[in-house]
Symmetry: C2
DNA sequence: AAAAAATGCGTAATTGTTTTCGCAAATATA
DNA sequence: TATATTTGCGAAAACAATTACGCATTTTTT
């Protein structure tokens, strides 16, 4: 309704009969200005609907207070609950710093060309800093870009060649706990369902299993419920003897269990299942999912704190590690 | 590593011995420039690492190609899966338009003061347009702000006083289908679990139930698994006869079912449950959740298309309605 | 009361682009 | 060949703010 074009500082200052510098000072706390004029100007600003143009401000401050979150995503199919929960932590923490969050999912197999767009964003100053979730080649390229442009960044997860500014999680130990638990509860034939890129979980699982660790069967699995179902199918064909499974993430585990139940395979009696990440819905499944808990909210929180420190101190900061717990429920 | 300060168009132009206008033209498709010089400049830009400063560009174009998504959120506790899936649709569709997404969750009970910050963002030009999810008072305030500042907006859901630019969903009919199904399958004692703000679902449910519609018991429920469990507790105390329940969203339904199973109440034999929204995980629960499906991805897609049309045509556009289906699985 | 310091505010420079305008050179038309 | 049109590029004016600097006042100190 108020269709009037936005008023600029110049026009506004003229109306008030003061200089634009004075107007600017009224809204900043840097210059020298009397309390009286400041109050008057702020009051008039309400009346005239004057607001400093954000783009002009950004040009001068060379920042738009925006943090970008880049993460590899499966795309269309279904949301990534792992990221979703991390995002909660990121969002709430960023709000404390009065920063704004932009989200940029990119395909696991993003081409150089697709990444070029992001490269451009990062280098042309679109972000004050970026948070990158490790796990795809694209993740590494984005961090390299940030490094080359001297843009503050933080990394979530283990990334080859990056030892600073990261929030790490002790995957290997978490998986170790799962393996040990299976061994201690008398399971004989372990399997691991997950990606082949990250070897840490598999390695930890194997070690937890002790002497029989070398028997761990491996089945490829992705990041969706559907992959979990496919994994069960595969496992039945190739390793029908398996009686316990660690899945690399919870959705995988849930898809796996659902497929098992559909085939009347009893969980945990015939196959015990442990997931990874402990996303919120896991405990509401039946059977409630046992999972290696990652404290995803804290993880996001930590990533933001690291990034803010990088921005403030203008140099890399030490990585931090979030520990894992094994949360036992009904599926194991 | 490349710690050099970013090169400006002026410095870059001087190095090449051309004017800044020519450099600018090399990257735009508006001015007149020979193919030869354009190629040369682009090549040199690679070499010198020149990239146009985004803030200066935004200042001139009066836009930063950024779309903000505002939605009421439960906050810390757990992610809102409803929004998460809508966001998938929004994100993918925005990418086609080369727009960037910012996300802004706000508390259901956000104060005027909290909203003032958003008001400022919206009016100072931080966004090219906004998408607002209805459902809280804050939603309405934000839309009013956009209207008063002549900022393009789109609304997801029914919002009082707003009849244009909206993506609506036929809640009432979806709930009707659920009520009718319960009636047709011989259920006698219906209950509705949900918020008291949106009357549409309850009304549709009641009508679907026909003659016995006036018997629908009402239990307050929020947007989290926990609320679902609490709802079951309440229902048992106040209406122990209830044999079928429509929940206003899926997490509520899942929490409800989990609590029921824990008390050895058989679902669907003793109580049949239908959820709302049909979020992805619902079908993986045991029993698989029956739900009124909302096509959340499409919904997000549609919101973006409406917003883009508003931006392009510079006037309000007609609202669209996404229909609901009743998806029957095991919980009913 | 004179000198020094602090305060308030305006002028103009700065931020890094895009884009209009104008001029010369190159090309097309008569 | 003379005129008209098109093309390529530079100078300078936006875009809308922030801020360094300077100059009167006012206040504080001696």
């Amino acid at each position: 309704m108020t269709n009037r074009k936005k008023i600029t500082i110049k026009e506004f200052a003229e109306k008030l009969g003061v200089s634009i510098a004075t107007v600017s000072r009224a809204f900043s706390d840097k210059g020298r200005i009397s309390d009286k004029t400041r109050r008057e100007i702020i009051a008039k600003a309400q009346e005239y609907g004057y607001r400093a143009n954000i783009h002009a401000r950004n040009l001068i401050s060379r920042s738009n207070n925006t943090i970008a979150l880049f993460f590899p995503a499966i795309g269309h199919e279904e949301p990534d609950y792992f990221i979703t929960e991390i995002m909660l932590g990121i969002n709430e923490t960023l709000a404390q710093y009065r920063k704004i969050l932009q989200i940029h999912p990119f395909p696991f197999d993003a081409s150089e060309q697709e990444l070029e767009l992001y490269r451009d964003y990062i280098l042309n100053g679109s972000f004050e800093g970026i948070i990158v979730v490790a796990g795809a080649i694209g993740s590494n390229r984005l961090v390299s870009t940030a490094q080359s442009g001297n843009i503050p960044y933080a990394v979530i997860g283990h990334m080859g060649g990056v030892s600073e500014n990261s929030v790490l999680f002790d995957n290997e130990y978490g998986a170790f706990l799962a393996g040990k638990y299976f061994k201690d509860t008398g399971r004989q034939h372990p399997a691991y369902v997950g990606g082949h890129l990250d070897k840490r979980k598999k390695r930890g699982f194997r070690e937890g299993f002790g002497a029989n660790g070398n028997k761990v069967a491996f089945v490829e699995g992705g990041n969706s419920f559907r992959h979990g179902g496919m994994a069960l199918e595969n496992l039945q064909k190739t390793h029908p003897e398996v009686d316990c499974v660690l899945c690399a993430n919870d959705v995988l585990a849930i898809g796996f269990i659902k497929a098992a139940l559909t085939k009347n395979i009893k969980v945990p009696q015939e196959i015990a299942v442990i997931g990874f990440d402990d996303i919120k819905p896991s405990r509401y499944f039946t059977p409630a999912l046992s999972s290696v808990s990652l404290k995803l909210f804290e993880l996001g929180e930590c990533a933001v704190k690291i990034l803010m420190q990088v921005i403030e101190e203008e140099k890399p900061v030490n990585s931090e590690t979030i520990e894992c717990d094994l949360i036992l429920r009904q599926s194991s």
